[in-house]
Symmetry: C2
Subunit: 220 residues, 2 copies
């Protein structure tokens, strides 16, 4: 597409139907932890990654670094880190909450056919530093926008995504042997969901319900 003033064009109009379906997509997105083991259709992952790559980024820096984790040994190291950290986390709860925590299924690492480790480059050349001098963390935030775009695009094709954060970032970084300037932002499990739910698993299992927006809204 050509640059310059010529690039101003008529905007697309999104229909009422699209807006309603988009709302349905947001309501149905879900953090999936129960996956079928069958692979994604050919070309599907590549298509979703190209859509995710359209995400906003500070200074147009596109700092996300996407690692498709296929090696069984690397996957096993990540799974072992999850199990160790999850056991540690369980010890921080007491009584009913401890029992409830141990019953939660918090990752689908063993079943999901696709594993993605998403890193953020903490000092990318691209972007020439624009916009991040005062808030350096906008680089990692850009990478989160990419992850969230991927998540929604996947769900629109019936594919589930689960974000695993109960991991030792150093162990994952070591296991995957990536550049030392990359910071782990998320480890994603991707595949077709085994079940379909409209309510979050943590709400369904009575760990934590959502609360009204009004409690998070302020005026100044």
């Amino acid at each position: 597409m050509a640059g310059g003033a010529d690039s101003e064009v008529a905007k697309p109009e999104f229909s009422r139907q699209f807006q309603e379906d988009f709302e349905t997509l947001l309501k149905w997105r879900r953090d999936v932890r129960r996956f079928r083991t069958d692979p994604l259709p050919t070309g599907s992952l590549e298509h979703l990654l190209h859509l995710a790559d359209l995400a906003p980024s500070v200074g147009n820096s596109q700092p996300w670094r996407i690692v498709i984790v296929e090696d069984p040994d690397s996957r096993a190291q990540v799974t072992a880190s999850f199990e160790a950290e999850n056991e540690q986390a369980a010890k921080h709860y007491e009584n009913d909450k401890a029992q409830m925590y141990r019953q939660l299924k918090l990752a689908g690492l063993k079943e999901a056919p696709v594993h993605l480790a998403i890193f953020s480059d903490d000092d990318p050349e691209q972007g020439h530093g624009l916009g991040r001098a005062t808030m350096h963390e906008t680089l990692a935030y850009s990478t989160v926008s990419m992850i969230h775009t991927f998540w929604l695009a996947a769900r629109a094709e019936g594919i589930g995504v689960g974000w695993v954060s109960i991991l030792d970032p150093e162990k994952v970084t070591d296991a995957l042997q990536v550049d030392a300037s990359w910071r782990l932002v998320a480890y994603l499990c991707v595949g077709f969901p085994e079940e379909e739910h409209m309510d979050p698993e943590l709400e369904r299992t009575r760990w934590q319900a959502r609360s009204p927006l009004e409690t998070r809204l302020f005026r100044r």
Copy 2:
């Protein structure tokens, strides 16, 4: 909606048309810095905030804290911080790049009818700490998902959003007198765009073009 096993339901099917329109939305999102000054339609901001509130969050903690900034004095303090930091940033570039930087329009603070300061609570009770022991920054990342959801939902209604990061977070936090445990994640300008473009302003002005996805994609 009831919890328990009953909550499993038939999933929605998203049409090919929806998927294509969603791709158009991603391509058209834009970081808007040139706004019309007319207000949003009544109820529009509230509707968009309710959609954004459907975003994923670690442990279902919903850590975002949204401040609608209406007070002219508060807005003026934020604008002054942008101008000071933008001037500082310009000094880091030399020759052509310095001249180019000064010609960029990096915020629409004076024109945009709606200003939102988005903070993240660094220690919310909600979520009972689940999922964030190993990667505390997942709280701020959850807040970014909320911002990105708002951004897409707004664009689907023809409303533009610009993320201003060239700010001193402490000055903004002080100006708005919010809780000390809140961390500024983004300051958003919201309103109808004055121009419509499909390519990023930073690409159009030849500051920084996007690069091929393949340079960000790795296999292990």
